[in-house]
């Protein structure tokens, strides 16, 4: 697989951002688990990258689906992406050939866009998932505290976190449940609202039922009871989730108690008949009951769906909702991309201001250098100039330079109107030959 690069990427002389990484699209799980950075390793890597002069600022993001190095390459450093890749492979002691073609490399605006898409959840395996925003926020906070970041990455990551928040608040990308278990719990919330004062009964102990229990617990469900044919299994699950285990024989007795009923009994057919549920509703004095039937074959009589104040969802119903939600999330991608583009423009405007600031500093240096040379050259030819007059000439020429640069300095400090002028800044740099500064130094 070839290394992913963008041929149209914009190269700028000063405030360049570089990124290399692997994710679930470019590397299989067996490889990803070998290139994970722990929190401590992420900080060590950032430190090492800066100490080796590869990067001036660095942040490492490492989750189960991605390992990425973000940085601002040192000014004089060429081929920073190669150096970052080399560092990456040597840090994890993985032969370069094994990672060859697995890396993606982005620079400048493309690197910024990539990070913004990551925090927006658009680059995630599960479109719109929100966990990644927290992971990026933590990685950045640690790097910031450690002193591995600087003005560029600070601005970029703060922008990325804002993008993540806005995309989730203003679009449906992360709004709807994407798993069967969560869809079941979210639907129960459509009936009862806050689940804190409510109770649930889990019949059977299947894997998806356990996921439902986890979501119910996260939402602070009032009480949980577990019934299973094997009391030991019920007790084990109840012990793990802080619920109460009930013997199978008492199922009918406790059926009227919960507001949410989750069934996941394997290979037995209907455990809860319409008659039984009708009696249950009577016992509940008409209070609604939400039933999630995760069993295959179904554990609840399909006829029971018609009972008043009983809301029944089976695994297919939930699967269909998840599928609908997936499509709805995908339809929201253009809106999320629009937010990302808006924030990229903001970042570029800020970067242009920074670039323009450095141009003014470079011009000042250049003018002063020429002024000194000129004064030295001309005054050498003038014997009748007193030291006081020499001093005055030096002072006047210095003042002239400051006056010429007063307005651009002021405008740059104000920062207004710089959006979209990065090209102009680059042109100025080229016009005055400021992009050859490093060569001059040598």
């Amino acid at each position: 697989m070839p290394t992913i690069t963008n041929p149209n990427r914009t190269e700028t002389a000063r405030v360049q951002v570089a990124l290399i990484g692997c994710n679930h699209r470019t590397a299989p799980l067996e490889l990803r688990e070998r290139i994970v950075f722990t929190s401590q390793q992420a900080l060590e890597a950032a430190d090492e990258l800066r100490r080796n002069g590869i990067l001036e600022e660095a942040v490492v993001i490492s989750t189960c689906n991605r390992s990425e190095l973000y940085g601002v390459p040192a000014e004089t450093r060429a081929g920073s992406a190669e150096a970052m890749e080399e560092f990456f492979t040597s840090f994890h002691r993985i032969p370069a050939a094994e990672l060859n073609g697995r890396f993606y490399r982005w620079a400048g605006t493309d690197a910024v866009r990539h990070l913004f898409r990551v925090t927006a959840g658009l680059d995630s395996m599960l479109l719109g998932e929100s966990e990644i925003l927290g992971q990026v926020r933590t990685a950045y906070a640690q790097a910031l505290e450690y002193g591995a970041t600087g003005p560029v990455l600070n601005r970029m990551f703060q922008g990325a976190i804002e993008v993540g928040k806005r995309v989730r608040a203003e679009t449906e990308v992360g709004a709807r449940p994407m798993s069967v278990a969560l869809a079941g719990v979210k639907l129960a919330e459509r009936v009862f609202g806050n689940l804190k004062g409510h109770s649930a009964l889990i019949v059977g102990a299947g894997a998806v039922a356990e996921q439902v229990v986890e979501h119910l617990r996260n939402r602070g469900i009032g009480s949980l009871r577990v019934v299973n044919r094997s009391y030991e299994h019920a007790a084990e699950l109840a012990g793990r989730v802080g619920g109460e285990a009930i013997p199978w024989e008492k199922l009918e007795t406790v059926l009227g108690l919960p507001d949410i009923l989750v069934t996941s009994v394997g290979g037995t057919g209907a455990v809860l008949t319409r008659d039984l549920l009708e009696r249950t509703i009577e016992a509940r004095k008409g209070r609604p009951i939400f039933v999630v039937d995760l069993g295959v074959p179904r554990n609840v009589d399909a006829d029971a769906a018609g009972l008043y104040n009983l809301y029944l969802y089976n695994i297919d119903d939930l699967g269909e909702i998840v599928e609908q939600n997936k499509k709805a999330r995908e339809a929201e991608i253009p809106r999320a991309e629009a937010i990302i583009s808006e924030h990229i423009k903001k970042f570029e405007a800020w970067r242009a201001t920074l670039e323009a600031g450095s141009i003014v500093d470079d011009l000042r240096d250049r003018f002063h250098k020429h002024r000194e040379l000129l004064i030295r050259e001309k005054l050498a030819e003038m014997d009748d100039v007193s030291p006081e007059e020499r001093q005055r000439i030096a002072h006047i020429t210095e003042e002239l330079i400051e006056r010429v640069l007063e307005q651009p300095t002021k405008r740059v400090r104000q920062g207004g109107g710089m959006r979209g002028r990065l090209g102009a800044v680059e042109a100025l740099r080229h016009l005055f030959g400021l992009d050859e500064k490093s060569e001059e130094k040598d």
Partner: protein, 271 residues
């Protein structure tokens, strides 16, 4: 609407509706707060519009159909804002503000210049009687909106087809509680309003008009809503059935407010 203040009020309600609709589409705490603030601001302006109108006509705001309907809208907004604060729920704001806009926007269409004006106001008891009854109707209108949303939400849950709006609507339990709160407010206002009307009439004429169709229908409304409150907690009626009953009750209120007022009553025809 003929006054600039009225148009401005309508514009603010429209802005509030847009914000509430935005929140319904994509929840945002600050846009939601702004929607509530706009509604409150619109209501403050609406209040001054009613006051200004009273000053110009030298009488109470409900003196004619225009004023009566305008006061109804204002009380509807007031009741909704109270419930929004009590239940911390903004997702029905879009429906309520839309109703407000529709109601106020229709006023110039339904009111003619040659409509007879009401008899002059007859003291504070009469004023409270009319205001409280209008408030009761406004609260019942709000419970109607909530019940309709409940019925829609229940039907979506049963059909197992969850669209975009489904995930934004309040939970059935919240809608039920809000609707009941609104009916409580309406019943309280109606009982007080009717009592004041009876006292006022007795003072004026020394009798009670129990046979007047308006009184009969109003008492029927009272009974219907008391029945709703009782049945909405019973085993067989709790939930969607109670919501349907509540929605039906409001149709009786509308009948009383329009047909009974216009064609049947003798002395409740105040426009």
């Amino acid at each position: 609407m003929s006054h600039h203040l009225d148009y401005l009020t309508l514009a603010i309600y429209a802005a509030s509706f847009l914000c509430y609709a935005r929140v319904l589409y994509a929840p945002d705490l600050w846009v939601g707060r702004f929607a509530s603030a706009l509604l409150a601001g619109g209501m403050a302006l609406h209040y001054f519009a009613l006051l200004e109108r009273s000053r110009l006509t030298h009488t109470v705001p409900y003196d004619d159909l225009y004023g009566s309907m305008s006061l109804f809208a204002w009380l509807l907004g007031l009741t909704y804002l109270g419930l929004e604060i009590l239940h911390r729920q903004r997702s029905v704001g879009a429906f309520v503000t839309l109703l407000l806009i529709g109601w106020l926007g229709c006023l110039p269409l339904v009111i003619r210049d040659d409509m007879p004006t009401a008899p002059p106001a007859r003291g504070p008891l009469f004023a409270f009687h009319v205001t409280l009854n209008t408030w009761a109707y406004a609260a019942f209108a709000l419970s109607f909106v909530l019940s309709v949303v409940y019925i829609a939400q229940d039907s979506i849950l049963r059909s197992r087809r969850a669209g975009t709006a489904f995930w934004r609507f309040p939970a059935l339990d919240v809608l039920d509680r809000m609707s009941r709160s609104s009916v409580f407010v309406g019943l309280g206002a109606l009982i007080l309003g009717v009592a004041m009307g009876l006292i006022w009439e007795h003072r004026l004429r020394g009798t009670y008009s129990w046979g007047d169709p308006k009184v009969i229908v109003t008492l029927a409304i009272l009974v219907a809503y008391v029945a709703y409150l009782g049945l909405s907690r019973s085993a067989n009626w709790r939930g969607a059935r109670a919501a349907r009953l509540c929605a039906f009750n409001f149709l009786v209120v509308l009948f009383s407010y329009t047909f009974v007022n216009l064609y049947l009553t003798r002395f409740h025809r105040f426009f």
